[in-house]
């Protein structure tokens, strides 16, 4: 499913100024991540390797974990629905929206890449529901009929004037093009949507197998409003998102927030325990959790299995010399950057997305940055072998054919290495760690 024109066109339309901004924003994020993780963990590499071991345990026991999670969630009054693919998930969510308001529900959405993956907004709108994205960046994307170009900062490819223009086109009055004024315009406009909404839809960052609770993290408060104010809350969660115990969040929350935005924790961490109880003052009356497979169980039994550890923090995008040069839309898939270069062909086949595996210099910065130590370069090499057999080269060939982009990407390799000092050594060290961790999975490395 191609999302946008090829990346050269994107680069031309974006202009050098914006490419510079993406590079600058990326390097700021890289240094903030390092500071946050060192402060949280002292030795972030041990934390990353421990987190990887916990996720690997979950993946090795996913069936029993899912059953335990479902049983605990149901005991809390959460309705659990299983979906084999995007269509089943869309239909399940549409059913709940229709039950909330048969003639078309008012739906507010928190940011969720899983809902992007299944094309939920389009499906609900076709069925007559009114859907509003409430994350500031995603709202701009929706107003513009665009797609997110980064999984954490969706409008990294737009400047303030682009965003302000999208608001004005939609008839929303702004005091100026300043970011403060745009945010104020969004706040004022979306307030009435929250109050009037029948249904709130969110993703889920974690599901806790032990307690059946759902965890959603965010900074703006729109996700919390979406999951609190409407009568019905629907959460869409990939089947791989489970953690064994609630106390594992003490590792995963700082790891995710630090890797994504360099914060000690996101502003809001919602631990959702089910529908409102009689004595509670507010909260949804109905909570539905949709468990999404959509190719994940196939990836689980493929050589790319460990990509399912991914927390969707976006750190691998920020350090990647290729992502920094071509930005997210060039990857043509909802999951861009190094993680997308693995996930897109794994989920949807190397026939359509195998070329993405070539959009990498194999510099190793992505694995170095990954909070769950996914060996992305190794996975990309494996996919290249598969793609070579299938003869799929598109994006890499485009990069190679565009002299300027090619040279720029190569120029950024040493920069990425500077930003990740000692990456070669730590790469080797991590490999040793991984081997040790495999030999003795229950010990702290």
């Amino acid at each position: 499913m191609p999302l946008t024109p090829p990346f050269e066109e994107f680069r031309r339309s974006a202009g050098e100024g914006l490419t510079q901004k993406i590079r600058l924003a990326s390097s700021t994020k890289v240094s903030q991540r390092k500071t946050a993780l060192s402060s949280a963990f002292g030795d972030p590499d041990s934390a990353r390797i421990h987190a990887a071991a916990i996720k690997d345990f979950v993946l090795s026991n996913l069936g029993t974990m899912l059953e335990a999670f479902e049983a605990a969630a149901v005991r809390r009054g959460i309705e659990v629905v299983w979906a084999r693919d995007a269509q089943e998930a869309n239909e399940a969510i549409e059913d709940v929206c229709r039950e909330a308001r048969p003639k078309g529900a008012r739906v507010v959405k928190g940011k969720s890449m899983a809902t992007e993956e299944i094309g939920l907004n389009h499906h609900l709108e076709q069925a007559g529901h009114h859907v509003v994205e409430t994350d500031l960046g995603e709202f701009v994307v929706q107003l513009d009929g665009d797609h997110p170009s980064h999984i954490v900062t969706p409008i990294i490819h737009k400047d303030r004037h682009d965003s302000a223009a999208a608001f004005r086109k939609a008839g929303i009055v702004l005091a100026s093009d300043e970011p403060e004024a745009i945010a104020e315009g969004a706040r004022a406009h979306l307030r009435s949507e929250f109050v009037a909404a029948d249904v709130g839809i969110s993703g889920a960052n974690f599901g806790i197998a032990e307690t059946g609770r759902i965890v959603v993290v965010e900074n703006e408060g729109n996700n919390r409003l979406s999951t609190t104010a409407p009568h019905t809350h629907i959460a869409l969660m990939g089947i791989e998102k489970l953690l064994p115990r609630e106390r594992d969040l003490a590792l995963f929350l700082p790891l995710l927030a630090g890797s994504a935005t360099g914060q000690p924790l996101t502003v809001y961490t919602h631990i959702i325990g089910g529908p409102r109880e009689a004595a509670e003052q507010d909260g949804p009356r109905r909570v539905v959790l949709v468990l999404l497979d959509n190719g994940r169980s196939r990836v689980l039994h493929s050589p790319e299995r460990v990509i399912l550890r991914c927390l969707r923090c976006g750190a691998c995008l920020n350090v990647c010399p290729v992502y920094r040069e071509v930005s997210g839309h060039a990857y043509r898939h909802v999951y861009p950057g190094p993680l997308g270069a693995v996930l897109a062909p794994s989920l949807e086949g190397v026939e359509d997305y195998g070329d993405l595996a070539r959009a990498s210099t194999l510099c190793g910065a992505c694995q170095e940055a990954c909070p769950v130590n996914i060996p992305i370069p190794d996975l990309l090499l494996g996919l290249r072998r598969q793609a070579t057999r299938q003869g799929s080269w598109t994006l890499w060939r485009r990069l190679a054919e565009n002299d300027r982009a090619w040279r720029a990407a190569l120029r950024l390799v040493p920069l990425a290495q500077t930003l990740a000092p000692g990456w070669r050594e730590s790469h080797a060290r991590l490999d040793n760690h991984s081997t040790a961790a495999q030999g003795e999975p229950h010990g702290r490395p």
Binding site: A47, R160, T228, S297
Partner: protein, 175 residues
Amino acid sequence: MDAREAVLRAVGPPSGGTAPPSWGSEQRGGIAEFEANFRLSGGEIVGAEDLARLPGRAWSRDRDVGTLPDEWGEYTDASPWDADLGITGCDALVPETGSIVVSSAPGRGRLTSLAVPTHLVWADRGLVVASLEEALGVLGPRSAVIVTGPSRSADIEGVMIRGVHGPRRLLLVWR
């Protein structure tokens, strides 16, 4: 075959074993560290003498908040959507991140700490726990939120904006 059965079959049998131990944070903080990190996150610690200057209509249904001084302004019965100030108690304070844990316990409404421009937390020093892991143990049985600073976004050009949907100001007063 229904979807549940199909997904579980596709996932396949478990390989067993026991889960690796939880991380076991070595962080051990106290009140001073909490205050420092709370301020770093953008929170403000206010004294009783500052309360008279807080904005107009307050909203609270939280019994832990207790009797409020007269100078806290009038209470509104309308809803937290219309209040200038939402007041809640809290369940735990986390030194390493400067976070506040607020459960959905009766009276401690979720919108009270969210739909208002200013959220005031009425806190007891005894609620400062040693670590995030310990805080996760006192979340309560239902829903909870861990709040780390005021609402923010950097979506537009990476410029930090406060108070996008949630409170622009996060205040804490020690009891």
